[in-house]
Every structure is written in C-alpha cells, then in structure tokens.
C-alpha cells in the first residue's frame, strides 16, 4: 500500500532531522530532568524522600516535647525520617545550610508547662519551631505536614479535655502508639471537666508512610504531562508537512503518479501518527531507564492510551492544518492550541481541582483525556478498567478529526 510507503518515508525523514529530534525527544527529557532536580529527586546530595534527614532539638522536659519525640521516632515514620536527637539548635540549623540536614524541629524549654493548663485552667501560648532547607522542595513539605499533624492532635486533645484516650486509639497507626497513649494520659489528667468545649472530631489526612505506599515521584506526573505537551507540538508540525510538500511541489509530483489522492493524504497523516507513536514510545522507554519512571502495571493499558493519544493528537493536527489557509496560519494556530491545551489539559499541573467552566474547557482538550488515562496508570497504578473513559473519548476525537481532515484535504488538493 502506497500510503504506508509515504508514512514510512515521512517518519524516516523526521527522525533524520536533528532539529525535530530536539523538539520531540531531547526537550521533554531535559525539562523533566530539570523538574526532577527542582523536586530534589536526582541530585546525589539530596536526601531521598523515604529517608529525610532531620534533627529534633527537644528542650522541653514535659510530656508534649516527649510526645513529638515519640511520634517522630515511631516505627511508622522510621522509613520516612532519619531522625537525630540533639540539644544544640544552632549547630543543627547550621547543618541545614551545609546540606547535611533537611529539617530541624526545635521544641522550646517549658513548652509543656506553658501549653498544658494548670489546676486553675490557665495556660499560655507556645510554639515549636521548624527549620527546613529552602533548596529542597518536597522533603520540607512532608516534614511540615507531619509536625503540623502532631501539633494539631495535641491542640485537639488539649481543647477537648473530656475526650478519652480511647478516642485517640484508632489513629494510632497514623500518629504512632505513643501519641495514643499520650492522649489517654492527657485525657485522664483533664478528667476534672473544667472545660466545657464541644467535642471536637479529629480530622487527619493520611500520609503515605506505610510500606505498601509508593514514595512521591514527581516524574510520574511531569513526564507524562510533558510527553503529551511535546507530542501535540510535533503532531501539529508533522501535519503541516503536507502543506510544505505542496510548497515544494513534491505533493503535486505525488499526485502526478498513479497513486490515489486519498492514499497520499492518508499516508501523510499516517506518517505523522507513526512519528508521534515512536516519539512517545521512546519517551516512555528513555524516562523509565533514565529517571526510573514507573509507567504502571498495565502494559496493554499504557499501549492503548499511548496509541489513542497519538491518534487524537495527530488527527487534531491534521484537521487544523486542513482548515488553515497556509503554512504560517497552521503554524500559529498549532502553537497556540498546543500551549492552551497544555495549560488547560493538565500537562503542567493536576486537573483534579478544576471546577466550572475551566473544568469543562479542560475536558475539551486531548491533553486532559490523555493525562487522565496516563495518570490512572502511572500514579494510581490502575488497569484497563480505569482507562476506559479516556480511551473512548480519545478514540472519538481521533476518528472525528481524522475524518474531517481527510475530507477537507481531498477537496483542497483535487483541483
């Protein structure tokens, strides 16, 4: 079939063009590497997220200081935090600057005495101090989250003095058994019920510290996002090649051969599709090798989403090119659509929080459905059942756009 010959020829020419290769492969990989560095996941002197180096300076002699210490040294957090206990706060802070530590938590002297109400019910204000490494992006967020949770739990216990220790026990796996014990102790101490607060409910979010949970991997989000973003660019550029062929007269020469016009157009669109497919596959393989990206557990699911994403992106590129008056217009429209789709469709940030019209607009983009499908595999570790909707939507987008492009090109080139 001559369409296949045209598609293979286009793919060969595209992969021989080093400028095109930079845009298709080098740029997304390099940007991913930079993002990885920003997230502290690549540099050898950056602590891995599952073993954050942290120091605790506990200057408090009371139960609360001990509570922080107990929770931070609890088995649940052992794999996440490599804790050192020290008494020299200044030295510990200096070690952050030298890169030895990612965070230092200082419990001031008299913290428990100030915060826990005395027999008269009087208590004061006191704060713990958390110092983090500004050069690191992820580890400070995690440490801060843990410390805030401990503080929030203590606050709740103090405010809801009548809450019994039993109420805290269910949260032990999250906070550590020591925290639950602490709750029980404080609860018992405050049994006098001098406080008449409404019962408060503890609202805790789960932090992935268990062995079954995967550590946070920025690549699992950004590489699929960038792969889809750069795919859109190369698909639009690839689609424009049919207009370049018209300008260089190779299209007219093709049409002077005994090759049906529909095969020529199909071959051109097929070449763009094949190029995009190879681009995405190379990005998947190279990111897995270079950045240890886990693309999920379903190879078939990944293949389906990749094929349909490329199908939809190349179809859209072909359609926009078919409707464009000339190469310049196709180039401008293609670049604009790539950028807008990238921003709306979740190539740069998660779309979970989108609502209203922005969410509707997001769902009109190829990127959104591609990202929904890819993230279901890479982040959520889903399977075929989890990609059904994105797969169907991408297939429909591809079929409609390819069909429209084929008809429009046919009208345009048969004179």
């Amino acid at each position: 079939m001559k369409a296949l010959e045209i598609a293979f020829k286009d793919t060969l020419a595209r992969f021989r063009d080093w400028k095109a290769l930079v845009g298709m492969l080098a740029a997304p990989l390099m940007i991913s590497a930079l993002i990885g560095l920003a997230f502290g996941n690549l540099s050898s002197d950056e602590a891995p997220i599952e073993n954050i180096r942290m120091a605790l300076v506990n200057l408090d002699d009371g139960e609360l200081g001990q509570a922080y210490e107990d929770v931070l040294t609890s088995p649940d957090l052992q794999s996440l935090i490599a804790l050192e206990i020290t008494e020299d706060a200044e030295a510990a802070k200096a070690r952050i600057e030298s890169g030895e530590l990612r965070a230092v938590l200082v419990i001031p002297a008299g913290f428990s005495e100030t915060v826990i109400p005395d027999n008269e019910g009087d208590s004061g204000m006191a704060s713990v101090e958390l110092y983090t490494d500004p050069a690191a992006s992820v580890s400070p967020i995690i440490v801060k989250s843990i410390v805030e949770r401990i503080s929030a739990s203590i606050n709740t216990l103090l405010l809801a003095g009548q809450v019994s220790g039993d109420a805290i026990v269910p949260y032990a796996p999250l906070l550590g058994a020591e925290m639950a014990t602490l709750g029980e102790a404080i609860g018992a101490e405050l049994q006098s019920e001098r406080f008449d607060f409404e019962e408060l409910t503890l609202s805790l979010e789960t932090i992935a510290t268990g062995e079954d949970e995967e550590p946070f991997d920025p690549f699992a989000f950004f590489i699929p996002g960038l792969a889809v973003f750069f795919l859109m660019f190369s698909m639009f550029e690839g689609s424009r090649s049919i207009l370049q062929e018209e300008r260089h007269w190779t299209l007219q020469r093709l049409m002077s051969t005994p090759t049906p016009t529909w095969q020529i157009i199909l071959g051109k669109m097929g070449g763009t599709f094949l190029t995009g497919l190879l681009q995405f596959i190379v990005l998947v393989l190279s990111s897995a090798l270079l950045f240890d990206v886990n693309w999920g557990n379903s190879i078939l699911g990944l293949l389906i989403i990749v094929v349909l994403t490329v199908f939809a992106a190349s179809g859209l590129g072909a359609m926009l090119t078919a409707f464009s008056r000339n190469e310049n217009q196709a180039s401008v429209v293609g670049s604009a659509v790539s950028l807008v789709f990238g921003a709306l469709g979740g190539s740069f940030f998660p779309t979970d929080g989108l609502t209203g019209i922005i969410n509707i607009a997001s769902k009109l983009t190829v990127n959104r459905w591609a990202m929904d499908g890819l993230l279901a595999l890479t982040v959520e570790r889903g399977g075929l059942a989890d990609i059904q909707t994105p797969a169907v939507v991408l297939a429909v987008i591809g079929l409609v756009t390819f069909g429209l492009a084929l008809m429009t090109f046919q009208k345009r080139f048969v004179k």
Binding site: L254, M255, T257, T259
Partner: protein, 315 residues
Amino acid sequence: MSQPILQAQDLHKRYEKTHAVQGISFDIQQGEIFSLLGPNGAGKTTTISMLSCLLSPSEGDAIIDGHSVRHDADAVKKIIGVVPQEIALYPDLTARENLIFWGKMYSLGGAHLKQRVEETLDIAGLSDRANEKVESYSGGMKRRINIAVGLLHEPKVLFMDEPTVGIDPQSRRRILDTVLELNQRGLTVLYTTHYMEEAAELSKRIGIVDHGKLIALGTQDELTKLVGENDALHIGISGISEPPGLLARLNALSGAHNAAYEDEMLLLEASHANEQLSDIIGAITSAGGQVKSIKIEEPNLEAVFLHLTGRALRD
C-alpha cells in the same frame, strides 16, 4: 503521418479572476521533442499541469496515447513522466532513497525497481554519489535527479517544465544533452522553456505561448518566416527621455519596424540592418540618446516573439 501520441484540444483553465490558458491546441508525434516557448506567466506550467492530470481543464481535453486526461487520469499517469520546474525531491533522503520512494509510487518493486534506480542514476551521472543526501547536492545535481525521477517508470511521454532554470551553463549543457539522448532512444518529450536557444536546439516544432494563448506553432523555419528576412537589432542606449517619440521616428524609417524599448534596450526589426544602421543611430542621437552597444541577429525565435507580441522574450 501516424496518430499523434499527444493531442491537446482547445484547453482552457479559468480561475476566479484569471483565464490562465485560453484555448491551446497542439499535437505531438511519437519520438518528437516539442517545445512550448514563452515568457514566465505565459501559461506553460498550467498547460503541463492539465496534461499531467494535476489540474482539471475548464474546457477542452487532451488525449495521451489514447487516454483522456479528463476521463482516464489513472491511465494517463502511468504513461507520462513529469519533471516539474521545482526541485520536487526530499532533501533529507539520499538520491537513491528518493528514487526508490518515487519508483514505489509508480508501482515499481523488487529487482525491477533496483535496476531502474541504477539506470536512472547512471543517466543522471550520479551513481557515485547516490548515497548522499539530496540537500548536499549542487543545484545542477538536484536538477539531474529531478529528471531521473521522471524517467523511473519508463514513460512514453516526458513532460519537462523549465528543467534548466537557475543552474550553471555546464549543468544546463548536460541536461540538454540528456534530453537529446533520451529522445534518440525513442522518448517523446514536451519541453517548456523561456530560453529561445534551448527550444531552437532541442525541437523541430515549437509552440510559442503568450498570455495563455498559443500565438504561433510550427518548425523553426516556418516560424522565422513569420518575420520575413528581417534582422533583429538589440541596441543598448542611454539618455532617452521620451521613448515613444524615438520609437515613432524609428518605425518611420524605411525598412525598420516593430521598434520597442525596455530597460535601456532598444529592439527593432530591419530588412537590411547593416545598411540602415547609420539612419537608426542618427535617429537615436537626435533624440538625445547615446548608443552603448549594438547587436544584430538574423531572424530567430526571439525576433518571432518580438514580431508577434511587440515584446522581448524575457523573464
């Protein structure tokens, strides 16, 4: 006379605002090199595009080896070779890869394709550089591969649209020799050009095209007889402030006519140029002009074009 291999019958091509081809008709005999001579924009490429089935005629038809370009385009495409004016090749591919690709578009394959690729590379004289990318070739080499592509499937008729545009004299000479050699092997060629010398060298019969019309058709002798025995004078002049006045004065001279002025070049026909030259120079100097150069040509296609259109055959 045998049945012509190509018959163009009252071909018209209309666009929204232009009538690019206005009723062109001609025949080409098998084994003939037929040239369409005319300036840029005359309608040569549009005519070839209709004969190549790239454009559908607005009116008229062309029959090539018994097949209508209107109704049997697929059959026509199999027996014609097209060498467009543009270098219609893929620069990222080597010459051999280009030829293999285009051969496949003509449904060639296997050993036959391989053989034809080698043969056409040989015709182009580029066998030793066949594995280099076309983008690294000189303009002349690209033109030769451009021609080779048109020969791959051994067409019965080869359409060559200005195949020597923009190349050096040596490459041009080589291409003209190639065309003559192919014709000696029996290939029929329709050749368009705006170079009078090329048409004169290659073709026995020539059609002169201007503004979408075939204004003259015949052998060189037949065409030059249109201007009689007149010589063509090309006189470079300067200092002429009122060319119309000078032209009127020159046309009034006995035996001189069709005087035209363009870009400091005076063109006119004269029955006995050498004898009339002093009168002509006198007319120029009395009009305030200065003669910078003089060239006298015996009747040729340039003179025919000038005679028929009142304009020089130029770009």
